[in-house]
């Protein structure tokens, strides 16, 4: 970076004496000088700054480099990123009120969210542990149900689970794995603890955006990227392919892997097409497939029927096979479950894997890990009250104003209540609902989820984020380096969904030692090095003569 860099670096200097930031009223004019001095990150854990003007240990260099770039330059990079996204056609689909659908450009913020590698390795191990236990749990539920017999997991929860599929009882999927692709949502609370908020074991999405975010960042922040060398995420498609190929019923041959999409009107269609393309797999719809009399699955091709070995299905269980589940589904393939049970085609994730995706089951994950692996969870659950337990229920009803109460089987924030934000009337209405069906509810304290600096016009302001890493499981396990960081772009908002004003960021797992210096420092150091070198060289020459 040119002269501006060094100037900015000088301006940062030593952290100011704990002066409280003046929030964002100061506007653009002051931002290039001492950006971080006025960064209002108190009250929450900020991933980059521990206090105004004071970067976290290990993040000093990144903070300095961002400051050196300056507000105007960062805003220009942000515009470049947005133009790139449009040009590359990175979109997501939203449904409009008129019933149509709109393809929107993917919202993205260029300031990366950084996590030191050492911390990440622990998270990675925790995620592997968790998914391994969940897979054992699912397999147990569809076989002997030992965990229920041993009274670790209540029968009543199982019998009321809407995602338990009786059709899957006794089935042995390849390698005994049910949830091959898992997306777990992580959040960090005020004190810095990382929690698992939920596990998505059905058809988790978002990974294509993780990959595209990385491409965009490489284009618009190349110098920082090069300097910090975050661990790569680009191998996900090939790891996904290997995971899927490992499930093939015909391992000796080159397996035919396909991605099954509900079609172009699905919100995640972009991702389905993207992953198919990246893996070199066919992108198929239900009507492209059929199950023959031999209980094998075929796709209709120009050359006639072609056998399919592995289906990465992005269709919900209930729409998968009208013969076995919802008879009026036109998205699925009649007989598919039959072919899967016969072991002639692999389905990822396996039907019925969603049983472990229930928010009440979530509350039992620490026990599940203990039961199957005899280990303590590496990443904790958010403390969770199970309303099915009378003591917990009493507590929840009394403290509903402080808690978030969620139903077991809804996603996307439906049917839940955020106590502090609700009115008295809403709370009492919700209390009635919980009393009626306590098994269906869990409650958690409201978390103060962490923030990351985000570009707002020409300034940086803290915005709340979560993180969705993806865990692949087959013959071996792998976890994405980081994952998809989603950010609530509205000030104060905790809603990170892209359909509701959420955006995303690139996630950098920074190797230890990388970027220990800011780039500006590194450059000036390199310069002085070469100067002193040439000096000593000329000296030695003088001596020789």
């Amino acid at each position: 970076m040119p002269a501006a860099g060094t100037a900015g670096r000088a301006a940062l200097g030593i952290p100011t004496t704990g002066k409280v930031g003046l929030d964002d009223e100061l506007g653009a004019t002051v931002t290039t000088q001492g950006t971080w001095d006025h960064y209002a990150c108190e009250g929450f854990y900020d991933e980059l700054m521990q206090a105004p003007g004071m970067p976290r240990t290990g993040c000093e260099a990144l903070a300095a480099d961002l400051e050196a770039l300056g507000g105007d330059e960062l805003a220009a990079r942000q515009r470049a990123a947005e133009a790139t996204i449009k040009e590359m056609g990175i979109t997501f689909t939203v449904y409009s009120e008129e019933g149509g659908m709109i393809d929107r450009a993917w919202p993205f913020d260029v300031i990366p969210r950084a996590i030191p590698e050492q911390e990440w390795r622990r998270v990675e191990a925790g995620l592997k542990q968790r998914v391994q236990a969940l897979n054992l749990f699912i397999d147990d539920l569809y076989h002997d149900q030992r965990i229920v017999a041993d009274k670790v997991f209540p029968q009543s929860v199982l019998s009321k689970s809407v995602n338990f599929r009786p059709q899957c009882v006794g089935v042995d999927p390849p390698l005994g794995i049910w949830a091959h692709i898992c997306g777990s949502d992580l959040v960090r609370d005020r004190d810095g603890t990382i929690y698992v908020l939920e596990d998505n074991l059905r058809v988790p999405s978002g990974v294509s955006y993780m990959l595209e975010n990385r491409l965009v960042t490489k284009r618009v922040l190349p110098e920082l990227f090069e300097h910090y060398a975050p661990l790569p995420v680009d191998d996900y498609p090939s790891q996904l392919f290997d995971t899927l190929a490992a499930l093939s019923p015909r391992p000796a041959e080159y397996p035919e892997v396909v991605v099954l999409t509900p079609g172009i009107y699905n919100a995640a269609y972009f991702e389905h097409a993207y992953l198919a393309q990246q893996m070199g797999a066919e992108l198929v719809e239900g009507r492209d497939l059929f199950v023959g009399d031999d209980d094998c699955c075929y796709m209709r091709t120009v050359d006639g029927p072609a056998r399919v070995d592995v289906i990465y299905r992005r269709i919900d269980d209930l729409f998968l096979d009208p013969e076995a589940f919802q008879p009026d589904s036109i998205l699925g393939v009649p007989g598919l479950l039959r072919a899967w049970k016969a072991g002639n085609v692999a389905l990822a994730n396996a039907p019925g894997a969603g049983v472990a995706d229930d928010k009440v089951v979530y509350a039992f994950v620490p026990e599940i890990i203990k039961y199957y692996l005899d280990q303590d969870p590496i990443i904790p659950n958010v403390p969770t009250y199970r309303c099915m337990e009378p003591e917990a229920l009493a507590y929840v009803l009394e403290h509903i104003a402080e808690l978030v109460v969620k139903p077991a089987n809804e996603s996307g924030g439906y049917g839940m209540i955020v106590g502090p934000a609700a009115t008295q009337a809403e709370r009492s209405q919700f209390v009635q609902r919980v009393k009626k069906d306590p098994r269906n509810y869990i409650a958690q304290p409201t978390l103060g989820i962490s923030t990351v600096p985000t570009i707002v016009k020409q300034t940086l302001e803290p915005r709340h984020v979560d993180l969705r890493p993806f865990i692949l499981s087959a013959d071996r396990q792998s976890v994405t380096m980081g994952g998809l960081t989603r950010v609530a772009l509205r000030k104060g908002s905790l809603v990170v969904n892209s359909s509701q004003g959420g955006g995303s960021k690139d996630t950098w797992i920074i190797p230890e030692g990388a970027g220990a210096q800011s780039q500006a420092e590194a450059q000036s150091f390199a310069q002085s090095q070469s100067q002193s070198q040439s000096q000593s060289q000329s000296q030695s020459q003088t001596q020789k003569t």
């Binding site: 172009i264 097409a273 393309q277 066919e282 992108l283 198929v284 492209d288 796709m299 120009v302 006639g304």
Partner: protein, 313 residues
């Protein structure tokens, strides 16, 4: 290659060809009408006749005026065959198979659709129409060139070509049928406009110059019909389209029934003595050729495309 993808590619090509052909006939008709005396000129109705969508047209418009017909053909969203609608359909088709075509192709289709819809008002105004249509034709041609030059010449490529040639052959027969029926009455003395109208038939297919080079006789009914139906070198003649459909089909598996249909159409064309046909006989002949093209389409669909979706009870 997936059957659904093959079908999408085929229709994608048909839609683009239809847009291009429609743009051509509108341009030529506008030029022709400037040369014909008011009162005897056939006006704009023949263009709707060519598309065969008269019933739909009459549902929405009182008369076949220039403004109405041009709007109907260029930008009426209620008309599934209007340029704006077919290009939207082409884009939608392409979106579902983005992974099978070169990236530039998708960008071109996307741009073409945006242009056709975004600049429509200019196209509807008399002064802007020529430029609008010219741009449309050029962009369609660009697409064809892109595919030829950048796409794998694989099965998908053959389905694109099949779609294009069937649509083009069909359009050529329609133009010939309608325009020859609408020629000014034969009894007209001197018939100074006869020549102009056959010239415009040729121009509807950008065939005028090529006709001149190839036939070297004055423009009149018999040779023109022979040229647009049977010339083996002119890429918009029915014979040429069918011959190239054949060479594409030969590269596809399980092609025997489709090739038989192609043979039938080729024999029909080869056996016809077009200059000798009366107007009624010509109409019958065109009908037969069109039925043949429809039968060929059905064979292609039955052999390679997915079965029609089962209608839910």
């Amino acid at each position: 290659m997936l059957s659904r993808v093959a079908e999408n590619l085929y229709w994608l090509a048909r839609y683009v060809e239809r847009a291009e052909d429609t743009a051509r006939i509108v341009t030529v008709n506008a030029n022709l009408l400037l040369d014909l005396p008011k009162g005897v000129a056939p006006g704009w109705r023949p263009l709707v006749d060519i598309t065969g969508a008269n019933a739909l047209f009459e549902e929405y418009y009182k008369d076949y005026g220039e403004r109405q017909v041009v709007r109907f053909l260029l930008g009426d969203e209620r008309h599934a065959g209007s340029i704006v609608t077919v290009l939207a359909a082409a884009r939608e088709n392409c979106r579902t198979i983005r992974d099978s075509v070169p990236r530039e192709f998708w960008e071109q289709i996307n741009g073409l659709h945006l242009f056709a819809a975004g600049e429509l008002q200019k196209g509807l105004a008399k002064t802007g129409r020529h430029a609008y249509l010219r741009e449309l034709v050029l962009r369609c041609q660009t697409l064809a060139g892109l595919l030829d030059g950048t796409m794998l010449h694989d099965q998908g490529f053959e389905f694109l070509r099949l779609g294009r040639y069937l649509e083009r052959a069909d359009m050529t027969t329609r133009i010939a049928d309608v325009q020859s029926a609408n020629l000014l009455p034969q009894t007209d003395e001197g018939r100074p406009y006869d020549n102009i109208q056959w010239v415009s038939v040729l121009k509807s297919m950008t065939a005028y110059q090529m006709y001149r080079r190839s036939e070297q006789i004055r423009v009149q009914r018999g040779p023109v019909l022979r040229f647009i139906f049977k010339n083996p070198q002119f890429p918009r003649s029915v014979r040429w389209c069918i011959e190239h459909a054949r060479s594409g089909l030969e590269r596809l598996p399980r092609n025997d029934t489709s090739l038989r249909e192609v043979g039938r159409i080729a024999r029909l064309l080869d056996g016809a003595d077009l200059p000798a046909l009366s107007q009624a006989q010509l109409h019958q002949f065109v009908d037969d050729v069109q039925l043949g093209i429809a039968a060929l389409h059905d064979e292609i669909a039955a052999t390679w495309f997915p079965p029609p979706s089962v209608v839910e009870p």
